[in-house]
Amino acid sequence: MHDLTLAELARGLASGDYSSRELTTALLARIDHLDPQLNSFITVTHERALADADAADQARQNGQAGILAGVPIAYKDIYCTEGVRTSCGSKMLDNFAAPYDATVVEKLKLAGTVCLGKTNMDEFAMGSSNENSFYGPVKNPWDTRLVPGGSSGGSAAAVAAGLAPAALGTDTGGSIRQPAAFCGITGLKPTYGRVSRYGMIAYASSLDQGGPMARTAEDCALLLNAMAGHDPRDSTSVSRVVPDYTHDLEKPLTGLKIGLPKEYFGDGLDSGVEQAVREAIKVYESLGAQVIDVSLPHTDLAVPAYYVIAPAEASSNLSRYDGVRFGHRCKDPVDLIDMYKRTRAEGFGDEVKRRILIGTHTLSEGFFDAYYRKAQQVRRLIRQDFLDAFEKVDVLMGPAAPTTAFELGAKADPVQMYLQDIYTIAINLAGIPGISVPAGFAGQHPTERRPVGLQILAPHFAESHLLNVAHVYQQATDWHQRRPELDV
């Protein structure tokens, strides 16, 4: 059962091949057995999972089961789940059990899904390798010497390892797409505002967006159907009709205009990755698509602009972790300042502190115009690049990351790590949707073949089209069906 897609499981549940309890029990057992070597979960919610499963089975008996009823999923530990530890990968929130459900958690619960647990992540979603977690790094199921990517590394690894058919991630600068690419799964970052951020612990509010991570585009469509929509509790969520994202999946791609941004195929791109991506594009050509070279001239400014805007917002968003009301508090503070200093020194990891410092600096009097204001201007230029490109083409394609998964500890220099996101960050700055789909493998030796992700980008709110383009490719290829070999 662990090899099946979400859609297949939903059909199996609907036709009574197995109950949700049977499915959930099997997956919990697999998690207990395999996760010690992967560390993809921070918290496994055995009891809640079985209770959810029983409720879904009951609903099905009563004829009230929706399409996702009884399907188990996992949540990145950034989503607040009522009564369950919601750590955000941080010591700061190790003792924090959220008193409420995030809007998307509530929606998926209402759809009848089963919560398996909370997945590991880079602390406060800051990282590209999942090495920045208080709960230790996550291992890539394809090769446990490798990182799974980040920050939604736990979700990506759990899905790749068949511990969960799908998991939710969040993407601020590539945190869904890059780990999806590293782990050989499908990950969708929706348009900013498509999915409610309420209850999703904020890293950089103007960039954060939650999305599904699963085996296939079809699975992502099923989950997005349940997740998307306006939330009166999130002022930045958009009031716009939610289509049925599965409706257009099969549409033929004849006449599809694919733009290849030349900036996404330049220096620093691993040749194996490039080769796999170009192969994928050939598949699209064989499906009737037309390929056009385009330019996104401000691409090289995306990483610098991001590392001004995201840390600035983070420095403010993370001020609430002060030891006063919840979370970690240092022992025996002598006074208020001592409490603040030691609480935050002990509670946050190095990368979080680094970004708080950067953000605090860039917002400071005398630096604001040079950094923050300038970065916002750059952001508008980057967004305009995409709008201009979409005048000429329907979708853009390129690699999701410049390399395949690297070894744990390989990137000690933060700037090297930041450059992991050169192809994903601009998408968050522009607010458009993007998806990473498995597009083969790269590597010198057959024993070192590592997954490659093809990134597909579409205009704002064109998720239906994006999923259609991804799905048709998955009908023509089998990369998404490959599974890592795990010691069972």
């Binding site: 607040c80 919601t86 959220a98 103007s206 999130d234 002022s235 917002e313 420095s315 403010s316 001020s319």
Partner: protein, 484 residues
């Protein structure tokens, strides 16, 4: 040297919304600690703010009331600083693009003249919680009930030149916000708080002196006292060869002084930036015009009308328009009695004196406007005389009757104007007081005027106050003079 005082005020008005500015929690005052703080007010991880539309409407109404520019776009920003009663580590406020642009407020000075004070801008922001330092054995308690309460901060230009002007300005703002019904204006409960910027400069100098900001000024009276102290401190300092430094000072009403809190060097860098959780607020013309239709008549307009249409003095017009409940009370009395001046005299005189004596607000008056109007109607049509009117008023106050007419009937206070009846009483008074009559007859011409008072008193007493005093006076004089 002659010194000139320059004052600018930041008045924080708590808006009378039912719920908080960014959450659905109640804003009611006085609840048990932390019972009116939602997940949003506590700043829990993952929560997001949603702007309260009523707070926006109230801010716009204020803007219209001061003839301010109302920009199409305003932006909420985060003011970042750490404090235990500030749950998120930032206050959501407005900085570069406030909801209300430049406007002006007219104040009335003691001599009845008016002065226009320019408003720099007004912006919306959320209040912080409260730190409780007592009863926690060396620790501090935090009450977040107030956290997220909507505030409108009204920032004046440095147009005020004395403590009295500052106080008049605060009163004018108080009148506007209570007229609009956008705040209860209750200073004791902190619904209006002021920060006062004070500087002094030699008279005639154009540039401003260095200012000090005084925090924690929570009443009209405190504002005057704090400014008076601060002006004197600054002048003394300069005259002794010192220099005023830019700093924040705290007013201590117990010691009647201001004390330094922090200097400019110690000031926080608040690292303002646009709040990414709230989109820019867009207000189109239709919205603003709709808000305009909800505006009541405002204090300045009322004052004008009282003075020019009702013929009240500038002082009376200003006093009676100073609060909406008072103005509404007065107007009702006037309508029932049909006499504006009489109504003004009674409301300002007898009614106010009695209310002040019992420390009651106009809204708590035991005598309703209809009752007082009914009483004045009987005074005006001479059913009763002035003395009886005071008695009826006292009885209404004690709730001894439903209406003036009822009390007048029950107590037989109806003025006696029947000449025959009065003549009979007067004859009796003259007969009963032969000694005084003789004295009157023997008195000098010019002393008699005074002496007649005795007989009037006796006659009024005999009528239990119901005789028409003018009639009594005239008849007595006629009869006594006939005895000469």
């Amino acid at each position: 040297m002659q010194w000139e005082t320059v004052i600018g005020l930041e008045v924080h008005v708590q808006l009378a919304t039912q719920s908080k500015i960014f959450s659905g929690a109640s804003t009611a005052f006085g609840a048990e600690a932390n019972t009116q703080a939602s997940a949003v007010d506590l700043g829990l991880p993952g929560v997001l703010p949603v702007l309260n539309e009523n707070a926006v409407a109230m801010a716009v109404q204020f803007g219209l009331a001061i003839n301010a520019q109302i920009p199409e776009i305003s932006v909420f920003e985060r003011k970042n600083y750490f404090y235990p009663d500030l749950p998120k580590g930032y206050q959501t406020s407005q900085m570069a693009q406030p909801i209300i642009g430049p406007g002006e407020v007219e104040i009335t000075l003691e001599d009845g003249s008016t002065k226009r004070i320019r408003i720099h801008h007004a912006h919306l922001e959320e209040d912080a919680g409260k730190s409780l330092h007592e009863d926690y054995h060396g620790m501090t308690g935090i009450d977040l009930n107030r956290s997220g309460t909507p505030l409108l901060e009204i920032v004046s230009e440095p147009d005020l030149r004395s403590a009295k002007e500052a106080s008049a300005y605060i009163k004018a703002i108080h009148a506007i916000v209570t007229y609009l019904g956008i705040s209860d204006g209750n200073m004791a409960e902190g619904s209006m708080r002021c920060d006062v910027n004070v500087s002094v400069r030699p008279k005639g100098q154009e540039t401003y002196g260095t200012r000090a900001e005084i925090k924690n000024v929570n009443s009209f009276r405190f504002a005057e006292r704090a400014i008076a102290f601060e002006v004197e401190r600054q002048i003394d300092l300069i005259e002794d060869g010192g220099k005023v430094i830019q700093e924040t000072r705290l007013f201590d009403p117990d010691l009647d002084e201001t004390r330094s809190m922090r200097t400019k060097e110690e000031a926080n860098d608040y690292r303002y930036f646009p709040c990414p959780d709230l989109l820019p607020l867009m207000l189109d013309e239709a919205y603003v015009e709709h808000q305009r239709t909800t505006l009541p008549e405002l204090p300045a307009e009322k004052r004008q009308r009282f003075q020019h249409e009702l013929g009240l003095s500038a002082y009376d017009a200003d006093f009676l328009s100073s609060s909406r409940p008072l103005a509404e009370y007065f107007e009702r009395v006037k309508d029932v009695a049909g006499d504006a001046k009489l109504a003004a005299n009674w409301v300002q005189g007898d009614l106010m004196a009695r209310l002040n004596k019992d420390s009651l607000d106009i809204t708590e008056s035991p005598v309703s406007a209809d009752q007082l109007g009914g009483l004045l109607l009987r005074l005006k049509d001479e059913t009763i005389n002035g003395k009886a009117a005071k008695q009826v008023f006292a009885d209404l106050w004690e709730r001894k009757g439903e209406s003036a007419d009822e009390i007048i009937d029950a107590k037989g206070l109806k003025q006696v104007t029947d000449t025959g009846a009065i003549e009979a009483m007067i004859d009796q008074v003259i007969a009963d007081n032969p000694v005084q009559v003789t004295q009157y007859r023997e008195a000098e011409e010019d002393k008699r005027g005074k002496m007649i008072g005795f007989f009037v008193g006796q006659a009024m007493k005999a009528s239990r106050g119901t005789a028409n005093p003018q009639q009594v006076n005239a008849l007595l004089k006629q009869k006594l003079d006939a005895l000469l």
